[in-house]
């Protein structure tokens, strides 16, 4: 009897089957797609809803019809908004601010990161950590002291900094420079040390080393930093809300909210249209830059 049991057990062991490798891969892929689709639905629902609403007239929005379907599509919201001088001013303000902030941030952070990553000087490591720590201070804590500073500048020099759209060009870099610098330090540090030594021996100075070796090699990192900077300066809400008030000094995010909500009347169609139009430039820029965002550009510099 005992021998029979033993054989039975042994027989069972030998019958254990391994799922085929391709079946295992299919199962993994299934779950990957399952969660990917879940996230896509989660993240795309708001923009889709915005798009649907932007095609509706005010009457249809307030009517009790299916909110996910347009029965009488109309472009009136788009036409209204794009012919409105005010909206175009918001758009212009946002564009100028963002372009200037991206330029300033990139110049400052590339130079700073190069110095901190490569030109080993006394305190450079501490300074690099300090740069990142400043990024950790939330803007909601910063805007009150900034406001006080502006008031002080006004009292002492008479220069009025509040309620001008261009003041955002000075303000946003306080948010973008630390992070962009930190990002670029990481990127520059990944460039092999021998590359600058080779450049030094080839006769390059520090500026030539930066412009002819580091910047071309670090293009993917620079693009990542640019995307980040552009997003921050395009979408920031708190600073323009706090520092600008006149209608002609507003940027897009604040402009849409303050001018399209009149008292307790929400112009939903136009709000959605404005938000959609406001989200378009970053989307277009990402799509364009993504082609250039190729990592592994350093491949071939050294062994490996």
């Amino acid at each position: 009897m005992s021998t029979a049991t033993a054989t039975g057990a042994a027989g069972q062991v030998s019958r254990v089957r391994y799922g085929s490798i391709s079946r295992g891969r299919r199962r993994t892929l299934f779950w990957s797609y399952f969660f990917l689709i879940l996230f896509v639905i989660f993240f795309l629902t708001p923009p889709v809803y915005m798009f649907i609403t932007s095609l509706k007239s005010s009457a249809e929005i307030s009517a009790a019809t299916n909110p996910w379907w347009v029965y009488h599509p109309t472009l009136s919201n788009y036409i209204d908004l794009l012919t409105q001088n005010q909206f175009l001013i918001f758009f212009r303000n946002s564009a100028i601010v963002s372009i200037c902030v991206v330029s300033i941030t990139m110049v400052v952070s590339i130079f700073a990161a190069f110095a901190l990553a490569r030109m080993r000087f006394w305190g450079s490591a501490t300074l690099a950590t300090g740069v990142f720590l400043t990024y950790l201070i939330p803007e909601s804590l910063l805007f009150i002291p900034l406001f006080k500073t502006f008031a002080y500048i006004h009292d002492t020099t008479g220069i009025e900094l509040i309620n001008h759209w261009w003041v955002l060009i000075i303000l946003y870099p306080t948010l973008t420079v630390p992070f962009a610098t930190w990002l670029m330090i990481g990127y520059f540090s990944s460039i092999p040390k021998e590359l600058d030594e080779a450049a030094l021996i080839d006769g390059a100075g520090y500026i030539q080393m930066l412009t002819r070796i580091f910047i071309p090699v670090a293009i993917p990192g620079i693009i990542a930093a640019m995307i980040f900077t552009f997003t921050v300066s395009w979408a920031n809400f708190l600073y323009p809300l706090a520092f600008t008030t006149s209608a002609d000094q507003l940027v897009l995010p604040v402009g849409i909210v303050t001018t399209l909500i009149r008292g307790d009347v929400y112009a939903w169609g136009q709000i959605m249209t404005g938000a959609l139009l406001g989200a378009a430039p970053p989307l277009i820029i990402y799509a364009f830059l993504m082609d250039y965002y190729i990592s592994g550009l350093t491949a071939g510099a050294t062994k490996g």
């Binding site: 590359l195 030594e197 080779a198 021996i201 090699v217 510099a301 050294t302």
Partner: protein, 365 residues
Amino acid sequence: MAQVALRKIVKTFDRTPAVQGIDLDISDREFIVLVGPSGCGKSTTLRMIAGLEEATSGEIYIGDQLVNDVPPKDRDIAMVFQNYALYPHMTVFENMSFGLRLKKFPKPEIRERVQAAARILDITDLLDRRPKQLSGGQRQRVAMGRAIVRNPKVFLFDEPLSNLDAKLRVQMRTEIKKIHQTVTTTTVYVTHDQVEAMTLADRVVIMNGGRIDQIGSPHEVYHNPKTQFVAGFIGSPTMNFLPCRVGENGAGLTVRLSDWLALPVPPSREARYRPRVGQEMIFGLRPEHIREGRGEVPPGAAAFEARLDVVEPMGMETMVYFLVDGVEVCGRVDPAAAGTVGEAMRLVADLNQMHLIDPRTELVI
């Protein structure tokens, strides 16, 4: 073209000494190899010549100029790095011409010089490629090309072949030697591979613990090592070292290695070794000087029997290992004559090639 001189060079990193007082004279067009184990200060020395590290004290001369405070770009040197250090975003042509373009050479001359260097290195059809499209050996050639086009006073090589596979390494070694015969520029070459050092160098500089142990031609450092370190570092397999006692045997001298083995000192060495009679010394003999014993024993040699511990056939020769008082000793014998493990074999030690080392100073007598 220039000579290089180092005078009492010291380098310390955060109080850790890396190079402890080096004096070295390299003559014009000479091929010098700095060799030693990792951490011996050879790369640091090279980097100080390049100007990538500052010497803590001492003087470095290139040509007649004191270059301690001269930045690398004004030293007129070119360096080849272990990991190639090619600019990844530039083509081979751009990589090779980068230095010339920075110095604002006229375009036709740049093209001419790059073409000439590419011909020497046989990379003419790679000029439009980027580094990532090249194999390891090709990248190394480009790195060398970048050095050659500059036509510098001194070439510096920092372990240029360590990243290549064994076969390619041997091939590139020959190539480097050929290039140096064509482009006779003063060269300082750093390696940890003693075979590379022996094959390439006009003179080998053997470094150990931040100091130079010996400078000499490959022949000299092989046959007349000055220290036990040099004797052990040069040659493969390494020299056998055995504790011994120098004794008198009538008119002659013997080195006693164990109860059962005492070897006679050749008459030519007697005067040199006589003051050491009765002292504990280290006996050194290369494996290639322990051969199979057939026929008559030549003068200065001694025959003995040893029980073989390990036998390693290598093809053209066979390594035999045996124990002398617990110390493993290696001999190189003809494969046809090699004995079998566990059995005694008659061997002949060529004592004309022996070395006697003072264990206190580690100097060869």
